[in-house]
Structures are given as C-alpha cells and as structure tokens.
C-alpha cells in the first residue's frame, strides 16, 4: 500500500548535504513514517495523524543536529585527543 505524501518540508539549500544522514536518524526515531529527499527538502509520507508543525520542527532539528555534528566534529576530536590521549 502506498502512503500519500502529506508533508513537504522546505529545507534551506545550505543544509541539503546533511539531509540523507538526518533521514537515516529520523527513520528509526519515527518508524511509522516514510521520509524521502525532495527537491525542496524532505517529504514525509504517512503523517496523517501527526502534528504538522511539530513534525516540521523535528525534521528541521534533525537536519540542524547533523550539520552541527559535522561542523564541530574536529573540535570534539581535538577535545578527546587533548584530554583522553
């Protein structure tokens, strides 16, 4: 059975490289939903019972988290190198 698209979430282009990793995480956090990369950002299928504003925020947050994680990874590596050897 195909799930009709119910939510197309626009994500700023600067975040697009982070979307695939964010979707991987969203997929296991919300196994009842189907996430896919779209031209504008992310399409969520099967979200008929979800709060759209809440879902949009969750998707944005996961993309933000992925970007912050990538961007700050060298700082974390440096931290662990300095303090844990």
């Amino acid at each position: 059975m195909s799930l009709s698209p119910v939510l197309d979430i626009s994500i700023d282009p600067e975040f697009h490289p982070c979307i695939p990793a964010a979707l991987l995480r969203l997929g296991y956090l919300f196994p009842e939903l189907d996430f896919a990369v779209s031209e504008r950002g992310v399409t969520v299928r099967g979200a008929s019972g979800s709060n759209p504003a809440r879902l949009q925020r969750e998707v944005s947050y996961q993309v933000y988290r992925e970007k912050i994680f990538r961007q700050t990874l060298p700082m974390r590596q440096s931290l662990y190198t300095m303090l844990a050897g």
Binding site: D12, E14, F15, R25, Y64, I68, F69, L79
Partner: protein, 469 residues
Amino acid sequence: MQVWPLRFRDLDDRRTILADESGAYFLADSGFVKRYARDVLTPSDKKFLRDKGHAFEWEGDLAHTGFLTRWSRRQHVGGGAAYVILIPTLRCDLKCSYCQVSRAPFAAQGFDWDDETLQKVLGFLGGLPVEEIQIEFQGGEPFLRLDLLQAVAAFARRRFRRVRFVVCSNLQALGEDVLAFLKSEDVLISTSLDGPHQVHTRNRTGDDALTDIFLRNLEQVIGLVGLERISALPTIDMDDPPDPEDLIAAYEEFGFTSLYLRPVNYQGFARKSHPAARTSINWNDYYRGFVEALIARNARTGRVMEEYYLAHCLRRILATGVDGHTDLRNPNIPTGANAVIDFDGQIYPSDEARMLARIRQVDLSIGNVSDGLDQKKLAVLAPGHINNFDPDCIHCPYQPFCGTDPIDDLSRSGRIDVPRRESWFCQRHLAAFDLAMELIYSRDPAVEFSLSRWLGLENIPEQLSPVAP
C-alpha cells in the same frame, strides 16, 4: 570565536534547553537554535555564549582551558575508592512479590558463602588497589548470616584507611547481636518501606503481624542509630501505586526527610508476577505527579521532604563530580573495584547483571573470587558503559548529566543497541531531566522553596537559570 557544540531539546513549544558537552546549559527560544544552526548568531548571542563559557577565541586561552576543566570533571574516571556489593546469602525470610534477585527460601541449603568462599572474598577485597571502600551487604537477607558480615567488617576495618558498610535489610528480625553490629558508627542501614501498612503488607510481608514487627523494628533502629544512618525506599507497584500523600505521610511518620522512589525492577520474580514492569509505561506520569504533590506538600506544611533521585539529578546538572550513585554516572566502566560478589563467589559488574545470570538469560560475570577478574570480558563490556559516543546521546543536552545501562537494556530488550529513546533507561532519564530543568527555570515560590532546600541553598540564584537573549 568558536562555539563548543551545543545540543538542544524542546522543553515545551516555546522553550528549548541547550547544553554543551561540559554540562553548561541555558534556555532559549527556537529562533536562537535556527541562528546557531545557520551560523548567523547576533552580536548579543555571541556575547552571551562567550560570557557563559560556551565559546573561546583560540585553543589554550582561558575560556578554552576552563571548558576542558569542566568537561574533565564531568567524566567519572573512578579510582580512589571502591564500592563492592557482597551477597553472603541469597536466603531470605520474606517472599516479596517483586523480588528482583529470585531469593532462596529461608531454610534452603547451598545459598550461603562457605568458609572457603569467605576467605577468597577477603582475599579479593584485600587485593583491591584502594584505601577507601564502601561495602554494601545485600541478599537475600544479609542478617541471616551476621557471622559473615562480622568477619568482613573486622577484616575491612584493618585493611582499609576508610571504610563504610551499608546493610540492606528487611529488618524483620533484630537480635541483640544484630543491634550490637548496627551500633558501630561506620554501619549504615538501608531498608524498604513501601508506604502505608496495607501497601507494605501487600507488597512485602503478606501478613499484618509481620508488618507490625517490621514497623516496630524500624522505630527501634532509628532510635538506636539516628536518622542520619538509616535510609528507606519504597518500591512502587505500578499496577496499584500508593497515593503520593499517603506514601509521604508514611515516611514523615518516622521522621524521614528523604525517600527514593523506585519502580518494580524487571528482574527475578518480578518478571512473572509483575510483567508490566518491563515497559513501566505509566512510571514517568506517576513520578511527575508524585514530585508535584511533594512540592505542594512541602510548601503547605513548611516541612521538607526530598525525592532522592530527582535531587540527585538536580545536583548532577548543577555541579561536576556528583558521581556517588552507581546507577547514574558516565563513563561507568566495570572494574573489580566496583563489583558485586554473589553467594557463590561469582563476580558481576552490577546487581542487575547477577540477576540476569540468576535467571539464566545471559552470563555477565566478570570473574570469580577463585580465579580473579576476567579482563577479556571486562574489555567487552566497557564500551557499552559510555554514553559519549552513542548516536542518540551525542545529540542530547542531558548527556553530560546522564549515564547508560546496557544491563537493563539487555534485561528488557535482549540487546544493548536499541535506539536510546526506546530504552527504559533513556525514557526515564529524559523525563527526570526534563522535570529537573522545568523546576530550575520555574518561578513558582513553592518550587523554589523545595528546590533551594534540596540543594542546601537559601534561595535559587539567577545564575542557575541562564537564558539566552
């Protein structure tokens, strides 16, 4: 300026908690999160982050060094003191429905240390590379083998510079010899009080007369050693939980000012008699309701009762190095200095691990008193006891205050790689830390009354509740 990685989580629709890896936290709105993620922080955002220690100019400057110091103090590295749980007997004179250790009957044989095991336990303790130790006697009912407790105590007082004993007892039988043992200043007592008489009877004794005996004994022991050397905790049966007011009143009756709310542990006999304990889905609601009732009652009566675990979570948020509770620290690497020695001499990394072995789910023993520690097994277990690199925890603002419990994950899910949010440990602690943060940022006088007293402060300084511009 470089900003240390910030993790964030919505407290509600308007407020988001952000924290860095050193545990420094603040409240902001979602606009701040957007600006941070998009690298378009305003000058006032940057000033705030700099002032609060979330940023630095270059490696080695004061802000950078300060962060490293705070981060280091957040890590539990162990050493210094040992904490060992000893099970001299698995026999018990009660048959609690939720017994998590699958205790052995009172008259059973083969469930106590024999002389050889005792000597090997003493040898193991003697070989620990520490000068301070806390030894907790559990069971079964440890006082059924007072002679073994006395032998361990005599040895430990000679061997260690500082020693403290905790006896986890049901206090059903108090002979003169037990009372004499309890008189020593280095002996503490931990017991169970499940609430009003009828609740305690239903959960633990199954007999009104036995409950009467326990309550009389509890009063006698408090009179003997004082409240500072005895603690009690209720185990909550979520199929029929006590009314919070009744539970608090039962503790106040004995003069207790602290209680530690615990759900039935999904271990041992509880698996059959309390199957709902596996998910404990109502626990977080009950816990929040209890804390709210407690805070309201404290404000109403002017007396102060704390819920120990929430107070502990608050202290872990607000200070570094609060690692005294073995269930909540990180890393929590299993070592011989932090172990459980069972009635048969097997050594486990935690009490829950011995319970899993007891029901034959998985053997997580890390050695035995005859052959010593199994270093290979310790190495296998170690990575699961660190939350710093967990794919969920690395995005969680509560990671620096939290811990990890792979043994509980194994117990409930049969594996340790369940997504954090699906694990009972994570669900419980997200709820507890959310609640703690709500209390920290509350301006309700009733909340401030309880919070300040739990933390030993005259009032709650504004610095403890920073808010981004």
